[in-house]
Each structure stands twice: as C-alpha cells, then as structure tokens.
Symmetry: C2
C-alpha cells in the first residue's frame, strides 16, 4: 500500500526520487524535530512570495541557532533551478515546494557543535489543490480543546520540524467531523488554524487575531493586509474570542497553499448564513489579482 | 569534522552502521517530529526498567495515535537481542539505548492513512557517562526564561520527536554558563530539567514538582519514590516555586541516563552550602542498590 508521489527531492545538490531521498537517523532533524522549513507554491510556473519565504526561513533558522548552508541569493537560485528541473522532468504544471534546513548528522546530544553540516532539502511535487467544492461551499472547522503552543515555550513564528501540536489538533478536528481545527491560546483567545491564519467579517469589517495571541505571521495574511489597504477594506488586528467567531457574518482561513478558503461552520454551528459571504467572495477574487501582481513584481514580468 | 560514534543502529530488522542507517525525507518523523522514543541504559549488561520503558513508549505512541509495528513482547525480545549483537560486535560494556517509532514514509499531510508503515529504530552505542567530577562536586543549573510546553498544547509526558522546547532551553542555560536548564511553567512553577526531573531537600524532607505542573513522570523519579518509601525518607510531591529551590538545603536532578546528579548552584546562586548535601549523597548510594535490585528482579538473576 505505498503511494506513488509525483515529484522529486533535492538533497544537498542532488535530485532524487521521493523514496530514494534519505537522511541519517542521526540527523537531529529526525531525532528532535530540529529543523526549519517553508512551504510555497508556484502560479503559472512562478513561485509566489519567494523572497519573503526565504527571508522567513532564515529568521526561523536564526531563532533556533541553525546556520543556513547557503546564503539567500544561493537559496533563490537553487529553488528556481529546481523548479526548472521539475518542468523538464515532468511537465510545466504548478508545483508545491517545501524547503527544509535540518541540523544534520551528529551524535546524540544538544550541543550545536555535534552537527557541523546542516542539510538542505527541497521537496517538489505537483501542487495538491483543495477540491473546488470547498471554495464554493466553504468548510467546517472545529474549535479544538488542544491549545496552540505558547510563544514563550515554542514560538509559532518559528516554522520548525516540531509539528505535533498542529498535527494533534488536526486529528481532534477530523474526529469531530471537521475539515480542520482552529486553536485557542491558554487565555482562550483565537489564534490560528493548524496550517492557516483566520479572518472574520463583522459589519463589513475584517478582523484577524493579533500576533500577540501567539500565531504565525503568515505571508498570505500579510498579502491580504496589503490587498485590504489597496482596496480600502477596513481590517482590524485584535485579540479575538470564540464568541467573535460565532457572531461573525463571514469567516475564512488563508495560507500559501490554499489561498483564501471560506469557513461556513465552526464546531457544528453556522457562521452567518452558512455559506461564503460577499466580502469573502470579493476578497477571493481580488486576491487572485494580488497574486498576479505580486508575481509580476517579484519576477519582473511585463504586465 | 565527522565524528566516529561507536555503536550501530537497528532499523526495521537490519543492523547498520551509524552513518548508513537512513530514513526517507518523507518519513513524517522527519517532517513533523511525528515519532516517539525512549532512552535507557544497561548496568552490567542488563537494561534497567526495560518493561517500564516499553510500557511508556506504547503510552506515548497511543497518545499520538501511532500504532507500534510490533507488540511489547516482540519489542523486549528485539531489544535484548540487539544488546547481545552489540556485545558480540564491540565488547561487553554498558550501552545507551534509544528506541524510536516514527510515523513512516508518506505523502505530505496530516492524515494518518498516508503513512501505513511505522519505522522501528534502535540506536545503541557506548554509554556516555557524565564526568565523575560532576557527581562529586555537583552542577550549576540555570532557571531559563523559556517555559515548559503546556500539557494542553503538547504533553511533556509524551516522549516525542518534538524536542525544540527542551533543546532551546538547554542552549539558553549553556549561554549563561550553566550545565543545563530548569524550566518553569506559565504559572511560574518549577517543572523539570531539559532531560531530567528535579528534587529538593528542605529540612530533611525531599520535595519534587507535582505532575500537574506539567512534566514527565520519569522512571528514575518513580524509582526514587520507591527507594524513599523503602528507606522511610519523607518525600512530598507538590507545586514548587523558584524560591523553594533557592531556600533548599540540597537539590538534585535524575534521569535514566544520569541517575542522581547533585545540583549545587542555580542561576549563579548557591544551593545550601554549595556542595552535594548529606541526603543527596545518601540517596546516590542507596540508589545504586535500588538499580541492582530492580535489575535482579526484572531479569530474574540470583542475588
């Protein structure tokens, strides 16, 4: 019962088949989740917000004292070259990209000098698109009992190989019939989804949990901020509670992989009229243009 | 600058050299830290508390919905056989044993059906003994600002591949000149070390943080409880604060790998007289007998 996954893995300069790409058991990325990563995707063959993803990868790495094995310019060149290799090997279709830096091979223990050579890994595969019906009808999320990691314990802004908090929250939501989970912090404030940020609409204004509630400053979240500014859509970043979500007229989540996804039920209760609302639909449309603009700017394409 | 590590790795039935033992990049143990583990050691060739370690490994696995690839009896047989293989290949010396079950190979995503075949890994190597001087003189720990994971986010009783919380706490302690860290919870209560439990002595009574403060129920901690009961040493499990530590006459940490290690300074302040105290020394001695008794009982040896 093994799956064939279309794509390949770049590992320290070599391009390998999915099953052939292997790392040592003694890579601390495996032993301790001692690694950082970014996920992004291409649109029309171009990676969206590549610079921002590389910048954040470097910030995550710095937060765990992990020296990236290449500089930012080299990262960019390697990723673009690897995308071209994908197009050559398979076909020109949009790809999912996961960039990982792991601590590397070393004896068991926490001292950083044990692992002198971090590993650079890029997983590239056909982008798995969320079924269109979810964008049309919206999804059902569950407010799970599992709380989000406290930033003073492990900051959600570090995108690391420590992902059990999110994974277990997801499984709790699935067991309750949801598409995914929404997590609170210890104070009972809304934080984020397991791989997405959350937005609400209340009286024609957008609201999103404040970063101080303990959540990832998502790059799609930032692009929505830009879009709202450009289109004069009021957007307020503040501490939000579950009741704010249940009283909202609309809700959606966003991420680099899913873009904007309408949320129509939370923990078996309808949000608004139980279908994607007008502001969400407007943003979904506007956001497509924002993606195209961003790619044109970053990759210096003619408009 | 690669190190030669004496030992080998058992991987799904095969015994491999340290550098040759590899797992796929797409093992979710690598991607998400989605794995569980136990560490233990042998004394005179026999693994201490083997049954307890296997029982806890299975509890950790259950907590993250990870089905162990063998039953407990098979685990025991494999571990004992692998220890014999070590003695044959190297020499009869005490070994460090790390047992890992990882989620296994699968496409990116959180759904459990993606990974039908968990991996079983046993790292076995010469036990690294903490220098004798640390047992004689005691060590210096640092109360670090990083707090322990909240059990509602990720329970410290799950020994998993998500270890950045502990690792980053350790690095904070090292930077401040300590041997290791002591972590508080969000309420400011003492929890544990990065890989050990904590005990204090106050007026000839032993104190240790209550499990409800959010810490691992260590197996060495449990063995100390038994020893105290047997020797009528008063032992109190309760919520403790940093001031309790600073007012203590003695302190020590314990773990399967280090046994009992005296603590003589915390965050640059002396504990008691700044040297291992009488009750700690008595326990260190008594505990040696407890280890021998436990091994005799478990492995049915003649006394």
């Amino acid at each position: 019962m093994t799956q064939k996954i279309k794509g390949f893995i770049y590992l320290n300069g070599k391009i390998l088949e999915m099953k052939q790409a292997k790392i040592p058991v003694l890579d601390h990325g495996f032993l301790y989740g001692d690694s950082v990563y970014e996920t992004l995707r291409t649109y029309n063959g171009y990676p969206l917000q590549l610079k921002d993803h590389i910048d954040r990868l470097f910030r995550s790495a710095k937060s765990i004292h992990l020296p990236p094995p290449k500089n930012k310019k080299q990262f960019k060149a390697i990723i673009l070259k690897t995308i071209q290799a994908y197009f050559k090997k398979f076909k020109k279709e949009d790809v999912y990209i996961r960039i990982i830096i792991s601590r590397g091979f070393g004896d068991i223990g926490f001292d950083l000098h044990l692992c002198p050579s971090p590993n650079l890994i890029i997983i590239m595969k056909k982008v798995s698109v969320i079924p269109q019906k979810h964008y049309q009808n919206g999804v059902h999320l569950i407010l799970v009992p599992r709380i989000r990691n406290n930033p003073k314990a492990l900051d959600p802004n570090i995108k690391s190989g420590n992902y059990l908090n999110n994974l277990l929250a997801y499984l709790e939501a699935k067991r309750k019939g949801g598409f995914d989970a929404i997590m609170l912090n210890a104070q009972g404030h809304l934080t984020e989804g397991t791989r997405s940020n959350l937005f609400l609409v209340h009286k024609n204004k957008l609201y999103t949990p404040h970063l101080k509630s303990g959540l990832l400053k998502g790059l799609t979240r930032s692009l929505i901020f830009e879009t709202c500014k450009k289109h004069k859509i009021p957007l307020i970043e503040k501490t939000l509670k579950p009741k704010d979500l249940f009283l909202a007229q609309e809700a959606f989540t966003c991420s680099s992989l899913q873009a904007i996804l309408p949320v129509v039920r939370v923990s078996h209760k309808k949000i608004g009229k139980g279908k994607p609302g007008p502001l969400t639909k407007k943003l979904m449309h506007t956001f497509q243009n924002a993606i195209e603009d961003s790619i044109r700017r970053e990759h210096c394409l003619d408009s």
